[in-house]
Amino acid sequence: MNIDELYQTIILDHYREKHHSGLREPYEAEVHHVNPSCGDELTLRVHVDGDTINDISYHGEGCSISQASTSVMTDLLIGHSTAHAMELHDKFLEMMQSQGRIEPDEDVFEDAIAFAGVSKFPARVKCALLGWSAVRDATLQATAPTTPSDRPSAG
């Protein structure tokens, strides 16, 4: 397996300069997701106004794949509707579980097309999903009718 397929320039660029990095106010939900086998950790906040995700801020420590994927995800979701976020999450998940069989649509995924290569490395798929799972969880919490209890979040 050619590692250049995994470590595409887009991914390494996002890893070096993470977009929207840092924890910011205001936010309606904050989640902490971890990848217990490798130790990656991510704290992520969403600021939702009505149906729109106005901000996603985060602090993470982890590998290039998890960090870059989170950075790309914020580019794709900030300023868009929560419904769009859920839909894109599901599509990204489907692509990552396809073992390279799904050719991503660049109009939809933009920089996230770089992660199609990651789906061929099964051990790294959960790295690429860390930020997406966190934003889905946080968005659901932020838009839930009542504030959920202080439950621990799973990674």
Binding site: I3, L12, C38, G39, I65, R124
Partner: protein
């Protein structure tokens, strides 16, 4: 001197290639490879002698019981136990430590203290946390020095082991740092206050000779799969009088004496702690593994690893951008070496190494508190065994230089 070429011939998996390159397996602290002799013993057991133990009275049952109890005797001899009944078979070292924590934990009361260390594997932390939560006892721990040695001075200053201490549970050799701890010294302190000394020997027993009669421990846990044996079998050695005094852990078949509907009485050790059908074939396989290791000689294996560890530390410390966690000299140290490449996450190091056939582990190695203490989020670990060669250490070093140079220009760092 070990004839490593001859040893490697017993491990067909080491002939595998990854793409064009030979496999370089440096993840033996995670799980060791298995020699043909062990796999043959497993196959022979299943193909010729398979039956349940003890409860099966027919010929095959007798043969299976002989294989299982025979393995117990081999393990007893291997660790220097006074009698075979001091060997309890578990499914792994984690279960052995949970057995210790549950049974000793049943005696803990509020005000009691349990002492562990910050360099423990999660399996020697979490069971004691649970035992303390259930009993109201207090969990305390040894710190480490910045060099990754047990901080005995700080422990003495803080009166860590005192008249309230009931249990001290310590790893013999750290699975991350490689540090070998002074078990006998700590055991003497524990015994002086009447505490029980538990030792996690998972990273020691595969690599060096052990004599439980002089180690100082009261209970010792280790696992089969790190010492050329199959997965699914571990061992808890215990002083017989202590085991005889402990309550059962798991309830079920074969751990009982008489069962009434309202209450039961229990079998003596070791069967008291072996509820249900045990790992029979795995125990037979582990028996074959200790025959194999004993045939080569644990002192010869330890000497080989000592030489390789010194060589590897020399190589790795000379690479710019590589930082070693733990002792950088091959003194009182096992063969696991953890490190980081500046600005490259261990997961990414692992990936590049894997693409070059070098199998190592990246992550926190089930020791998150230790990594936190040393200021590393996670690390990369290379670990050797009796079949590891100096050429494989060279391949590791070359691959690390390649990894550093692969990422450095892309991150605008070195090179």
């Amino acid at each position: 001197m070990l004839d490593v070429d001859r040893i490697r011939a017993d491990f067909p998996i080491l002939e595998r290639t990854v793409g064009e390159r030979p496999l370089v397996y440096l993840d033996s602290a995670n799980t060791s490879q298995k020699p043909r002799q062990v796999v043959d013993a497993l196959a022979e057991h299943y193909l010729q002698h398979n039956a349940n133990v003890a409860r099966a009275m027919h010929l095959l049952g007798a043969e299976a019981t002989e294989a299982f109890e025979g393995a117990r005797s081999k393990l007893a001899a291997f660790v220097g136990a006074a009698r075979a009944e001091e060997i309890v078979f578990t499914k792994n070292a984690s279960e052995a430590l949970n057995l210790a924590a549950n049974t000793l934990g049943s005696r803990l009361r509020e005000g009691d203290e349990v002492v562990i260390s910050v360099m423990e594997h999660h399996s020697n932390i979490v069971p004691w946390q649970l035992a303390c939560q259930r009993s109201g006892a207090t969990l305390r721990w040894f710190d480490v020095t910045d060099e990754g040695r047990l901080d005995l001075e700080a422990a003495a200053r803080d009166n860590l082991i005192n008249e309230r201490t009931r249990v001290v549970s310590l790893t013999w050799v750290s699975n991350v740092l490689g540090t070998r701890n002074p078990v006998a010294k700590v055991a003497a302190q524990a015994h002086a206050v009447g505490a029980v000394m538990v030792v996690d020997a998972s990273q020691a027993v595969p690599h060096q000779s052990i004599d439980v009669s002089t180690l100082g421990a009261d209970l010792v846990a280790f696992t089969g799969h790190k010492m050329c044996g199959p997965t699914g079998v571990g061992v808890l050695w215990g002083r017989f009088d202590l085991l005889a005094d402990l309550p059962p852990f798991l309830g079920g078949g074969e751990m009982i004496e008489i069962v009434e509907m309202a209450r039961s009485t229990y079998a003596p050790p070791p069967h008291r702690f072996e509820a249900g059908t045990p790992p029979i074939a795995q125990a037979a396989g582990l028996g074959a593994a200790v025959d194999y290791l004993g045939g080569i000689g644990m002192d010869a294996i330890a000497a080989h690893e000592q030489e390789l560890t010194a060589y590897a530390l020399d190589k790795l410390t000379s690479i710019d951008g590589v930082v070693i966690l733990g002792p950088t000299e091959a003194v009182e140290r096992g063969s696991a070496i953890s490190f980081n490449i500046t600005d490259v996450h261990p997961h990414d190091v692992m990936q590049i190494l894997d693409s070059r056939g070098v199998a190592i582990r990246g992550g926190h190695h089930c020791a998150r508190p230790l990594h936190k203490r040393l200021g590393h989020q996670s690390s990369t670990r290379a670990s050797s065994y009796l079949y590891t060669t100096a050429a494989e250490i060279d391949a590791l070093a070359d691959a690390l230089v390649f990894t550093r140079d692969y990422f450095a220009p892309r991150f605008g760092g070195l090179a």
